[in-house]
């Protein structure tokens, strides 16, 4: 259902339905279309996975920040200026040699907006939500991530208002990289747990 674009008729129907609702609510004085523009611009240009990548990169280079992130992720992330809707209560979960974390919301689409922006369609869709708690290794392998049986896989089902940010392992070959160079290696999927941080270009 959510994985592929719907046929044109639904798009047209939805365009008409949403436009009608916006018109009615605007005429009733209940919404300001300019506020919608502002919301959309925020999530298109200001709030996205670059925020999370900056958090991860700093955790890799700054041991004090890393400790603060483990202790109180909400405060540590707020100290970098990332606060607000769908990030009110944050927890960072750290990958290691024998520990891999992956995040889901089986009941809806909970996702740490403040650090990752809006979730991709696959994250919100039934295939991922149904399968990743039952067969996480199989799902991860379909993302190209095959983990050994010695690696504990923990699936975090976001059932409350706590939002989870995976801190991937720092890739090898990045000694001496600054935070900006490191952040470029931190993909959105590595912070959901369906991927790893990128290896640096040789």
């Amino acid at each position: 259902m959510h994985d592929h674009p719907h046929h044109g008729s639904e798009l047209d129907e939805m365009t008409a339905r949403v436009k009608a609702l916006e018109t009615i609510l605007t005429e009733k004085g209940l919404i300001d279309p300019a506020a919608i523009d502002e919301i959309v611009e925020t999530y298109e240009t200001k709030v996205g996975p670059r925020n999370g990548a900056a958090v991860v990169a700093r955790a890799w280079v700054d041991p004090d920040f890393c400790a603060a992130l483990k202790e109180d992720a909400t405060a540590a992330i707020a100290s970098m200026g990332f606060t607000g809707r769908q990030g009110e209560h944050m927890q960072a979960v750290f990958n290691g040699k024998t520990q891999h974390n992956v995040v889901v919301c089986t009941l809806c689409s909970c996702y740490p907006w403040t650090v990752l922006g809006l979730p991709p369609v696959w994250y919100k869709s039934p295939p991922y939500r149904s399968r990743v708690v039952l067969e996480p290794r199989k799902v991860l392998s379909e993302f190209g991530l095959t983990l050994g049986d010695d690696v504990e896989v923990t699936v975090w089902d976001s059932t409350a208002e706590v939002r989870y940010l995976v801190i991937p392992e720092r890739p090898a070959g990045t000694d001496g990289f600054d935070s900006a160079a490191l952040a470029d290696l931190v993909t959105r999927d590595s912070m959901i747990g369906t991927g790893l941080a990128l290896e640096p270009a040789p």
Binding site: T15, G29, L30, A35, I36, I39, V47, L107, S130, T159
Partner: protein, 219 residues
């Protein structure tokens, strides 16, 4: 309620299909749907729990047959009708037939940045002590409430271990139904894959979920 949204462990939905270079929105109406939903939330009639309940209460045929933001718009429309801010006649005509009741609460464009940056924290102070502590073994409730709940069906009746005490948070099962916030202790519960799925579990897998104290009993 184990509605169509309660997907953990179900089969038949096919492969996960990530989209290469996925855009943030797939159509302009999706942008307006996001904005409308957030703006209407500011009117103060409902919180996030009632909003989620409106979506999961859609008939399964509608829920599974609709794209994500279409679910949002259908649920938002139902909430606006329920609270008397939009009528069926208005939807049929596409025009306002009466002024809004809570236009004083309209989210202004200039306020958006602050509203989004502030969010809506769910933690509340209460004095009652926590019944459970880190390391306690607990059984998740077998109850199947007919209303909103955040205990997934796949975890009902299963045994796990408390791995974190989060503090006291708004209780969704109450808040979704206008019964007040009823702040309740919230815990992370770690459940072994084998406890959930028996011999069909993958090796060395664990699920952790957040559960309110009322979902738990000692085990």
């Amino acid at each position: 309620m184990m509605g169509p949204h309660d997907l953990g462990g179900r089969a038949g939905f096919g492969p996960v299909l990530p989209e290469e270079d996925e855009p943030i929105f797939h159509a302009d109406w999706e942008k307006r749907a996001l904005g409308l939903t957030l703006c209407c939330g500011a009117l103060g009639y409902w919180g996030i729990d009632a909003s989620r309940h409106a979506r999961e209460s859609l008939h399964p045929v509608t829920y599974y047959g609709s794209s994500y933001y279409a679910i949002w718009i259908t649920a938002l429309t139902a909430l606006l009708i329920r609270h008397g801010e939009v009528s069926e006649a208005e939807l049929a005509s596409g025009k306002a037939l009466a002024p809004g009741k809570r236009s004083d609460s309209k989210m202004q464009a200039a306020a958006v940045a602050d509203v989004l940056a502030k969010g809506a924290p769910a933690d509340r102070d209460i004095t009652a002590p926590a019944a459970f502590a880190m390391g306690d073994r607990v059984r998740l409730s077998k109850l199947s409430p007919r209303g909103h709940t955040r205990l997934p069906g796949y975890a009902r009746g299963k045994i796990g271990v408390v791995t974190k005490v989060h503090g006291t948070h708004v209780f969704p099962d109450a808040a979704a139904h206008g019964q007040g916030e009823q702040p309740t202790w919230l815990y992370t519960i770690s459940i072994a894959g084998t406890e959930l799925w028996g011999a069909t579990a993958e090796p060395c897998t664990t699920v952790r979920l957040d559960a309110w104290e009322r979902y738990l009993e000692p085990a």
